[in-house]
Amino acid sequence: MYVAVKGGEAAILATHDLVAEMRRGDPAIPELTTGQIREQMSLAVSRVMNEGSLADTDLAALALKQAQGDAIEAAFLMRAYRTTLPRLGSTVPLDTGAMAIRRRVSATYKDLPGGQVLGPTYDYTHRLFDFSLNGATGEQPATTLADTPLDTRMPRVPDILGAEGLMEPETPPEGDPRPFDLTRDPVEFPADRDVRLQALARGDEGFLLGLAYSVQRGFGGNHPFAGEIRLGEVPVELVPEELGFAVDIGDLTITECQMVNQFKGSKHVAPQFTRGYGLAFGHAERKAMSMSIVDRALKGRELGETAAYPAQQDEFVLYHSDNVEAAGFVEHLKLPHYVDFQGELELIRRLRRELDERIAREAAEAGVLAAVTQ
């Protein structure tokens, strides 16, 4: 099938070649492999998995390579791929209490069962350039194993508070229904918590960080405490219908954050701590913390708080936190709009002409009036 090539079509074909050339950069420099990205850019890989809503480190690495490191473009690639994947089933809820811990810190207790485990973190590095990284060092970083293994079971901080009745209980809704899937069904407002958490989990890290910060600075009523942040591997289990028992299908690296928030109570609810929940693929603490603060802010309606600030308004947060949608709509302004602009041009010229005519007419009338009064 052939159609006449016009300007647009030839240009589109050419731009694909230009992108490929720009992506490769200087051919004298060795090409990146996706394995290098997966292993050495793992935080970027985590971000792409979260915002792309797909846990696959190889695909995320490929997406980053194909998108020249643009996280949003890479997330877009992940999403366009996942939308074509069939759904095989739902896994059993993850038991983060059984996580193989690599890092676990609590800001609310000096020490707690299982202990504080600092693990890998940039928190206490000084942000000074390590110029030795400029070239390949070829050295294997030396780490030492602890003498004793970590406890196999580390209770989660909200559960400790919950045992005393100080933390709002969180129980699954009646019958523990399958959570909403916002990639399959349209969201309706007000949105329930499963919808909100799902939207936050794929929301833009920068946007959620800004919203969480706004809550802390005063555009939101809560003061959060980092009850616990944990990072590690959890087993993922699936119950195939034909078997009827759970089968371990692999491990997932996740970051979980539980924020503890003050709540003074209301007419019907006793004073207690309330929680905000954050969960992210891979190592993504900033994301999980931001998510948990915004989750708590959005729970205001259930707790009888007024939704006075942006972070407390589900329509505002859910509609605008999706960076793939936001980027698409903002960047669609690059598409031609000259038909609409022509309408605006015609209108503004007409309005200006009418104003000029009116001013001239009024000036003439004033002139006549002045002549008469003289």
Partner: protein, 307 residues
């Protein structure tokens, strides 16, 4: 002088289901479409999928087209009225790749026309489907930012604030200062956004023989105007609805009845007006109509790809 160049559209990519979407998703979209046709102008929420094109770039229209297109269909895609604008080319290539259907630029030959920002000048016929790409389906959004509230306003037929807005325009400017996305009342019931088509095109929606389908992918809404449906642009008895007019006809085909784009020809204020509907303009020129600048350098700059 450039010669006409032809290039193959991409071949049908067998790795994807016909028209990209899986059959269950198409059925979901079709159900939403049926509901939309049954309740003209009502916005039906649907499970908008993430598409390989960006949100805001026609994913709603693409999903609607994908749900209704069959192997025997002939597809025309326009943006700003033109077949050769980059995004129209991109969407046409997408459907050639995932559906392998015939494509055309001739309005009369198309069974499905996907459009952004225009309705073709030539009247559509029974059996044709016009698919609109919609960025913001909610005509009341600028008056009320909450979706929960605007759905209530539609349910109650609470359109007073919209009339107040139009009235305020008239009070301040002497005109309704809306030139595109001009709201319409469909079948006497729902106020609907016609998508950002110029208000010039609004009258074409009224009692159209064609089926008009609207897809808003990012906002996850579908709505429709069935054939032969009353579509009225909102106005007042003493300020009736009017469409744009130009002082001069198309500089290429001399049409005085089409929507014109303004083309800047130099940096000294020189400009020319040409049909936004490129196929309509070509058809008129082929029939012997000659505009003021046809054959001049300025005219050739716009028609060189056809020569």
């Amino acid at each position: 002088m450039q010669k006409t160049v032809t290039s193959p559209l991409p071949p049908r990519d067998e790795a994807y289901n016909f028209a990209y979407l899986d059959e269950a998703t198409k059925r979901m979209v079709r159900r939403a479409l049926l509901k939309a046709v049954a309740v003209p102008g009502y916005q039906v929420p649907f499970g908008s999928r993430e598409m390989p094109l960006a949100r805001g770039w026609g994913t709603g229209g693409i999903q609607v087209t994908a749900a209704v297109i069959g192997p025997d269909d002939t597809l025309k895609v326009i943006d700003q009225g033109a077949d050769d604008t980059t995004n129209a080319v991109s969407i046409r290539r997408f459907f050639a790749r995932v559906a392998g259907v015939a494509t055309t630029e001739a309005t009369a030959d198309a069974t499905i026309i996907q459009t952004r920002h225009r309705i073709p000048e030539a009247p559509l016929e029974a059996g044709q489907i016009l698919v609109y790409q919609v960025p913001q389906p909610e005509p009341l959004r600028k008056l009320e930012s909450s979706e929960a509230e605007t759905r209530k306003m539609h349910a109650w037929g609470d359109y007073g604030p919209m009339y107040v807005r139009l009235y305020e325009d008239i009070a301040r400017f002497g005109h309704v200062a809306t030139t595109y996305s001009y709201p319409v009342l469909v079948n006497g019931r729902y106020v609907m956004s016609p998508s950002p088509i110029p208000k010039f095109d609004n009258p074409k929606m009224h009692m159209s023989a064609a089926l008009q389908l609207f897809g808003a992918g990012r906002e996850k809404r579908i709505y429709a105007i069935p054939p032969w449906t009353e579509v009225k642009s909102l106005d007042f008895e003493d300020h009736p609805f009017e469409v744009q007019k130009w002082d001069e006809p198309c500089a290429l085909c001399d049409a005085a009845d089409s929507y014109l784009d303004e083309v800047i020809t130099d940096d000294l204020g020189g400009r020319m007006f040409v049909c936004s509907d490129t196929h309509y303009c070509e058809g008129r020129r082929d029939a012997g109509h000659r505009g003021r600048l046809l054959g001049t350098d300025a005219g050739r700059a716009l028609t060189r790809n056809e020569e």
